[in-house]
């Protein structure tokens, strides 16, 4: 045994704690007739290499891991573009009701009418909120929603015999998933530049659209947290060229109850329920990225949808559906939480969510712009972007500032994104934070700025108090160590 060190964390994996013969659970004796497996060839030739540990070891192992978590339940989490809002506890309780958690996707429709009604009502609510009435809740994440939306666009043009539309136009400020989804959908990606103010360069867009344009993918508000002032002109230009407009709904939180994507001319969108509609997020469970379309595109939606016929709800397939995007009906537990959130917030509250998110972001923007290279003049939406180039000139990077925030118990903002902003720090406080929290964040940022002059190594070496200090990101990427391997001797025995 190694020499004990006070405060040391036991970092051994469960597999590394395994002791041959140690048992965590006594299985009861067999009290039914023994049956042979139908195909003995399916039997393992040797025992599975599972960790052999006691119950208290398992409990302590996972409890210790959970205490190392940095989460929205423990800390302020202003991670831009991720909308890390509070996840109301009552939604968890509802999602675990037996009628929600205990049903099976293969049950006959007539035995799960309540669940189907919930799906139907959530489809309708999201259609109303976005102004895009064709809704499929199936996609399991934002990127799958994007992919589904792009496949719908392709199917729509194929159906019209307009097969030459193979280009996806995407702004240089876009989320990386946009070009990735477009490539997956078989489209050629063409980048649309931003102008000096961070808006879509409208003249450049005009020069790029033509009869090859399938879709223009636009995030609204943009990844800079800005509303596109020329949005109606932009959607007009794309429609005139015969293309469709896709809204990346990652930033939908800023638009709730204020403006509908459909009214602005968008044809397709996805919504990240784990962002805008408060379902747990980021490693904390499955997401959901429903795809939303105009009436004209609704026949191409993925299957299944829930339709209502009088008082009966049914799973149905749209007539020219692009097909299934997952095995069943989406992440149903996530849908329950989003539904509960929408019902609790209500129509009036929806607008208030967006307004408070916008006010909170602007409060931070105004307070910190001078010191951290933000835009002191232009009103932002739900998030604000800083560009601490003055700090960079002093030898302190956006990464160093982010890591130092961890020492103050604040999750780092999104950094180095959008790519068009040097040293970007993207801060999204969300509407669920109090003014006290925002004031503390501002005070911490100012203090960090003073530390840069007084003792920059405080930043270079940060974080100091986290379970892991500065990580070797480059080393991890160059020599990835992806899974635990048994040592060579026992491996040879396999």
């Amino acid at each position: 045994m190694n020499v004990p060190v006070p405060g040391e964390i036991d970092r051994r994996l469960l597999n590394e704690r395994s002791v041959p013969g140690r048992i965590g659970l006594q299985m009861p004796g067999l009290d039914v007739p023994e049956q042979p497996l139908p195909d003995a060839g399916l039997l393992r030739s040797q025992e599975a290499r599972l960790p052999e540990v006691s119950q208290p070891e398992v409990v302590r192992y996972f409890t210790a891991l959970s205490r190392m978590n940095f989460s929205v339940d423990t800390n302020f989490y202003p991670l831009g573009s991720c909308t890390m809002k509070y996840n109301p506890r009552v939604n968890e309780e509802l999602a675990f009701l037996p009628g929600m958690a205990g049903i099976h996707p293969h049950q006959p429709d007539e035995t799960v009418q309540g669940a189907l009604q919930l799906i139907w009502e959530l489809q309708s609510d999201l259609g109303e909120i976005t102004g895009l009435p064709g809704v499929c809740l199936g996609p399991l994440a934002g990127a799958q929603g994007e992919y589904s939306g792009l496949m719908i666009a392709r199917a729509y043009f194929a159906d019209r015999g307009d097969t030459g539309r193979t280009v996806a136009l995407i702004p240089d400020s876009a989320h990386g998933t946009n070009p990735a989804s477009a490539a997956m959908a078989g489209l050629e990606v063409v980048t649309v530049p931003s102008d000096a103010q961070g808006n879509v360069d409208v003249e450049a867009l005009r020069g790029l659209v033509d009869q090859r344009t399938c879709v223009f993918m636009l995030t609204l508000p943009s990844t800079l947290g800005l509303f596109e002032p020329n949005i109606l002109e932009i959607t007009g230009i794309v429609h005139q060229a015969g293309g469709l407009i896709y809204a990346d709904g990652a930033n939908l939180n800023a638009l709730l109850g204020i403006v509908k994507l459909g009214d602005l001319g968008f044809d397709i969108a996805h919504s990240n329920l784990h962002k805008t509609f408060s379902t747990p997020h980021g490693g904390g469970g499955p997401g959901a990225g429903p795809v939303l379309v105009s009436d004209e595109l609704a026949p191409f939606l993925p299957t299944p949808l829930v339709t209502r016929d009088g008082d009966t709800y049914r799973l149905t397939a749209p007539e020219r559906s692009i097909g299934r995007v997952n095995g069943f009906h989406g992440s149903f537990g996530v849908l329950v939480r989003a539904y509960a959130y929408i019902r609790a917030v209500g129509v009036e509250g929806m607008r208030q969510v967006a307004e408070n998110a916008i006010i909170n972001a602007n409060y931070i923007r105004v307070a910190l712009s001078d010191e951290f290279g933000g835009d002191a003049d232009r009103i932002c939406m739900h998030e604000c972007v800083f560009s601490p180039q003055a700090q960079k000139a002093k030898g302190v990077s956006a990464l160093d500032i982010s890591k130092r925030l961890i020492d103050y118990g604040i999750h780092p903002p999104t950094m180095y994104f959008p790519l068009i902003v040097p040293e970007a720090l993207m801060v999204e406080p969300t509407e669920t934070e109090t003014k006290d929290t925002l004031d503390r964040f501002i005070a911490v940022m100012r203090q960090i700025n003073r530390e840069i002059d007084e003792d920059p190594d405080l930043l270079h070496d940060a974080p100091h108090d986290a379970p892991n200090t500065r990580l070797d990101e480059a080393g991890a990427a160059r020599n990835p160590y992806l899974r635990w391997q048994p040592d060579e001797d026992s491996q040879a025995a396999d």
Partner: protein
């Protein structure tokens, strides 16, 4: 580090060094400083024909993936396998051990479309 004045530069932060009919290509120190630690380099195979200013590969750092645009067109005659195995060489010295490819060039006049070190320094000082 000063920008070497023995070679030409593109607006996309690549350099081109002439050695007879073969031109060595790499990225600039300004580019490596902006990218941060480089973790992956993807280069075309020997014999690939490339066109001036077109994409010829990708470079990935801990921050982002960026396209590589060749400052000259021609046929790739050598690829620096050293940077594929050890991408940190590009950070170490992008102008020597961190070179990327060698291109056989038929038309040397392409170099007229590139900048000298002074002009490139002015561009990146902006």
């Amino acid at each position: 580090m000063t920008t070497p004045d023995d070679r030409k530069y593109s607006e996309e932060h690549e350099w081109a060094l002439v050695e007879g009919s073969v031109i060595t290509v790499g990225i600039t120190r300004y580019a490596t400083d902006s990218l941060g630690d480089i973790v992956f380099v993807e280069l075309p195979e020997n014999g690939t024909e490339v066109t001036q200013f077109d994409k010829f590969g990708e470079i990935e750092s801990v921050k982002a993936v960026s396209d590589l645009f060749t400052p000259v067109g021609g046929k790739i005659v050598e690829v620096n396998s050293g940077v594929i195995d050890m991408p940190e060489k590009v950070n170490e010295d992008p102008y020597t051990v961190g070179w990327l490819v060698k291109i056989e060039v038929s038309d040397q006049s392409q170099l007229d479309k590139l900048m000298d070190a002074t002009a490139y320094d002015n561009l990146t000082a902006e």
